[in-house]
């Protein structure tokens, strides 16, 4: 119990530091966002705006009141973040939360589907490779897995969009669903969502499963050589039980932390892919923000991605003891 509290405390501290750093970045970078905003407003206002008015507008957009002392600015900024107020996007002229918020489910849909695919395909393939260790199938899959795992996802994305999107026109080249459909729980809409998501998901899945397969293969081969597996076979346990309860369970265990870190990246894991497929998700807006120097939006995106990662790793840490009885207690374990 005290471990859980400590662990949660550490995560909270990490998030706190991240948000503080984001404040520091916005506030302190020379020629940074605040100067940029000020210059922009002076330009737009043509000298009509008073310095106080400019400061007031900057404060509204970034949650940073420039004419206050730094510590007051900091407290204000942190309080707003805690209240879910990330400032206003300069480009979209809307609160950051209402730009990013609606984009989150779409990004999560892409990355979570891709992760689910890569993990299940990778783990099954890896286990199968281990059972067939040394066969042509094993050697070929290892090679293919290595090559795909070393390929950047955007290369696959570009190939997919070039051929399946433009050349053969089999898949849409952008958007989240066909614009004439009404969003809701109806079949044409869901089908369209799936159709539009297919290529982005595929680009991430194709390069992802190789890594999982290779680790699963290695882990399974190790488990297959364990004494307890031999004892289980001699005890006459059904093959299915041995495969699932003995091999799979013990081989997947070391990959669990990796999986949780991967889950932590579902909010920010598709930045480049979303841009290639013009898919308005978190990553899409993040790049937009960078291009448009939309600092409040950028900071909001960064904070969201970091917090998601910290949450993922915390969940991994807290649940690991439940999955692997040897790790319970965990007073001395590393934490992030």
């Amino acid at each position: 119990m005290s471990y859980i509290l400590k662990r949660l405390g550490r995560s909270a501290l990490t998030v706190f530091v991240v948000v503080s750093a984001s404040f520091g970045l916005v506030r302190l970078l020379p020629g940074g966002p605040l100067d940029y905003l000020r210059a922009q407003m002076i330009q737009q206002g043509g000298g009509d705006l008073s310095a106080a008015e400019i400061n007031r507008r900057i404060a509204a957009q970034t949650n940073i009141a420039v004419d206050e002392p730094v510590y007051v600015q900091y407290v204000d900024y942190m309080t707003s973040i805690v209240q879910g107020d990330f400032g206003r996007s300069i480009w979209y002229e809307e609160p950051v939360a209402s730009v990013i918020g609606p984009a989150i489910p779409w990004t999560v849909f892409l990355t979570a589907s891709a992760l689910f695919l890569t993990f299940t395909v990778g783990v099954s393939l890896g286990a199968f490779m281990a059972y067939k260790e040394g066969s042509t199938f094993d050697v070929t899959s290892t090679g293919v897995g290595l090559v795909l795992n070393s390929t950047p996802s955007y290369v696959v994305a570009l190939l997919l969009i070039a051929f399946l999107g433009y050349q053969f026109q089999l898949f849409p080249t952008g958007g989240r669903y066909a614009s004439e459909l009404t969003p809701g729980l109806n079949v044409p809409f869901l089908a369209s969502v799936l159709y539009h998501g297919m290529l982005p998901i595929l680009s991430m899945a194709v390069v992802g499963f190789g890594g999982w397969a290779l680790s699963m293969r290695g882990n399974s081969i190790r488990v297959l050589g364990e004494d307890y597996l031999r004892v289980a076979r001699l005890r006459g346990l059904p093959t299915r039980r041995i495969a699932i309860r003995y091999v799979a369970r013990n081989a997947i265990l070391p990959m669990y932390t990796g999986l949780m870190i991967a889950i932590g990246t579902v909010f920010g894991g598709a930045v480049i892919i979303e841009n290639i497929f013009a898919y308005p998700g978190v990553g899409f807006y993040l790049i937009q923000a960078i291009n448009a120097r939309d600092y409040p939006l950028m900071m909001g995106g960064f904070i969201l991605i970091t917090v998601a990662m910290v949450v993922g790793i915390t969940i991994a840490d807290l649940t690991y003891g439940w999955l692997d009885p040897r790790a319970s207690g965990g007073e001395s374990r590393e934490a992030y």
């Binding site: 001699l234 005890r235 006459g236 692997d324």
Partner: protein
Amino acid sequence: MPRERHETGRDASDPIVEVRNVSVTYDLENRDAMVLDDVSIDLRRGEILGVVGESGSGKSMLANAMMDAVEEPGITTGEVRYYPESDAAPINVLDLTDEELRELRWEEISMVFQGALSSFNPTMKIRGHFEETLKAHDYDVEEGMERARELLSDLYLDPDRVLDSYSHELSGGMSQRALIALSLILEPEVLLMDEPTAALDLLMQRSILSLLDDIKQKYDLSILFITHDLPLVAGLADRLAILYAFELAEVGSTEQVVSNSQHPYTRALLKAVPNLDAPLSTMQPIEGTAPNPAHAPSGCHYAPRCPLATEECHQEQPPWFDVADDQRTACFHHDEAEEAVALEPGVVDA
């Protein structure tokens, strides 16, 4: 009177497992490595048979062959006959189908391994191991778990605590005893123990051995006990079989083998046993090293290291000689052994 090599112990009344001419070979690139060479031995009903040999002499292979559990790519040849009842027709273990073998293992012939900690699934409680074994063999789980509790308490363990533990929560001695209980859960007739105490400290070894005798009586077991520790098993076993370089050297009652061995290897082995009471100078290592399984000598395997070896020994494999009542030695020079390898009295207590 010399006997044929496969006749070891044929006249023994009431064997439960007969091993006849069993060899285990591994097919290496261009020659076969024989890790068990034409071994014939009986396990008698209700006895504890100690099999002693140095590392790599084929002890574990013998146990594995007895339940046809030699791992790929090892090839087991010969015959293993199992007699469920005294007068019943034997079951030919090496000829069984996979399903018949699955039923024989653990239900009739069970095995305890060295390294109990690694014999349990680390992510499953001990209870799960008992339950899944009962289920896999269609035993009544409730009744079986009752038996598991009894077995555990017979082994001086707290059943509830052990059943609700993971293997990493048990000490070495506790998990070894839990493994013994697991091996007996389906009420087998034969228990093969492969160095079950090797990883334990001396105190724990002794206490497990003393438990073993009680367990054997209570559950009517016949036990094959494999070890490299001759003094350890001498106090426990009814009979001893000495294995050297994939072959049996000598088989006989413990007392005979320990105090009246007629085989130069057994005698040299007894001399190599450390003893606190005897001066260090009486302890002697055996010169040379054991042969490689791919290059075993063509005659007696011990001949290259044997002080008594003659041309005959290098050319021919010695048959069994009856050297005393219920004691057989595979040595041409068995009658000279006693003189050639003198023993300090009382090195090992039978």
